[in-house]
């Protein structure tokens, strides 16, 4: 055991962070760093898992076998991302079962975006384009996060997400160039998902109390507002290219700043959704709880089978 006092340990820890040396699971770390990461990584994992639900809604109704195969592969990837992240969080001492129970009891949060319904096939396009697009914006800087297992998981996730965004944009672009009804369908979808996508980056910087510490620890590399602006700047020209209109009358290019100016975000809606009052919060949690409860016999059977096989091996 180390005989150093806590101030010395904290100083050495911060010096490692400042020198861009990654922190690994067994290294000493401040309790607050561990807690912050456990909360962030488990929320991220929950988001991946809950994120399968809005898209899962359309697997049986995909318009072609090709689209169905693609959507299945995408949803399977989201499951994989959730698993990488749960195991990254476990390296910090997170208990996976109780973390999942926290999700199911409403104690743990997940991304607000997944509490919106998927009403049309066009939403599969918009989600890939905007929601996965925003997720990539958020996750690319996390590949350089100071905690090794989280950074490594993010590298894998980012590699896989780019397929998600492209398949989404392909759907959007085909519909936008399709019949007037198809174009209307995808415009309607963009109208519904635009603002919730911007909310994915979290509160404004001056309203995000934990950000400064996370930046100091290099868990967070860019601020919420910087990432949101970057997302808007790259997405607006994509919408224009396929002839869709961003539902923001205040959106305009600002020559002086080199960025788009945009309208006010409805933070009251964001807070309501976070607090559990979004359109689908209850459905999502019910679906997760049912999946766990109805799948309990499978987990028990697998345990029983493993026990039986172990006994057999011992008697041979």
């Amino acid at each position: 055991m180390s005989t150093k006092n806590i101030e010395e340990l904290e100083k050495e820890f911060q010096a490692k962070i400042d020198a861009d040396i990654k922190i690994e699971p067994n290294d000493w770390m401040p309790e607050a760093y561990r807690k912050t990461l456990m909360r962030q990584i488990s929320q991220h994992a929950h988001s991946e898992i809950v994120g399968m639900l809005p898209e899962g809604n359309w697997i049986t109704r995909a318009p072609s076998l090709k689209r169905k195969a693609v959507l299945l592969a995408k949803v399977q990837d989201e499951a994989g991302h959730g698993l990488y992240l749960y195991s990254a969080a476990e390296t910090l001492g997170l208990d996976r079962e109780s973390s999942i129970d926290d999700l199911h009891s409403g104690k743990a949060k997940y991304s607000s975006i997944f509490n919106y319904p998927t009403l049309s096939w066009a939403d599969m396009g918009t989600i890939g384009w905007l929601v996965d697009g925003a997720a990539i914006m958020n996750q690319v800087p996390l590949c350089r996060c100071s905690y090794g297992p989280y950074a490594r998981a993010m590298v894998r996730v980012c590699k896989e997400e780019s397929f998600h965004q492209r398949q989404g944009f392909e759907i959007v672009s085909l519909l936008a160039n399709g019949t007037p009804e198809q174009k209307q369908m995808v415009q309607d979808s963009l109208n519904r998902f635009w603002w919730p996508s911007l909310m994915m980056f979290g509160p404004n910087d001056d309203n995000s109390p934990n950000s400064a510490q996370s930046v100091k620890w290099k868990i967070k590399r860019m601020s919420n507002d910087e990432l949101r602006q970057q997302f808007i700047d790259v997405t607006v020209p994509q919408a224009e290219m396929v002839g869709l209109t961003i539902p923001d009358k205040d959106l305009k290019w600002n020559e002086a700043t080199g960025h788009y100016d945009f309208g006010a975000i409805n933070w009251e809606e964001f807070n309501q959704v976070i607090q559990g009052n979004g359109p689908c919060n209850k459905d999502r949690i019910d679906a997760r709880r049912n999946a766990k409860e109805n799948g309990a016999w499978v987990r028990e059977a697998a345990n029983a089978f493993a026990e039986k096989r172990k006994k057999k091996e011992l008697t041979h």
Partner: protein
């Protein structure tokens, strides 16, 4: 009801013939066979591997990071183990 959580497994993947297995992450599974099957789905969806090893995480013994200074210091002080420690006269090649 047995609510026993499945054990944690560490997963190692050989990406191609000629390379060694490399640690890629971990997962939960009831037994070794299920760990292999799950590792296939979780870690090789894009042809990342041709061979998988799994081992229960609790069986791994790791060195203590708090002792890494003492543990690895002997190698740091033996710079004569590196070829750059030695002077080779001008004109000598293939060495």
């Amino acid at each position: 009801m047995s609510s026993k959580e499945w054990p944690l497994w560490e997963v190692f993947i050989r990406s191609k013939q000629g390379l060694s297995h490399k640690h890629v992450g971990s997962l939960r599974a009831a037994d070794a066979q299920m760990a292999i099957d799950n590792a296939r789905d979780v870690y090789t969806r894009r042809s990342e591997g041709i061979s998988i090893w799994v081992i229960e995480s609790k069986l791994v013994t790791a060195s203590d990071p708090d002792e890494s200074a003492e543990l690895f210091e002997p190698a740091d002080s033996k710079i004569y183990r590196h070829p750059t420690f030695y002077n080779v006269p001008d004109g000598i090649s293939h060495m």
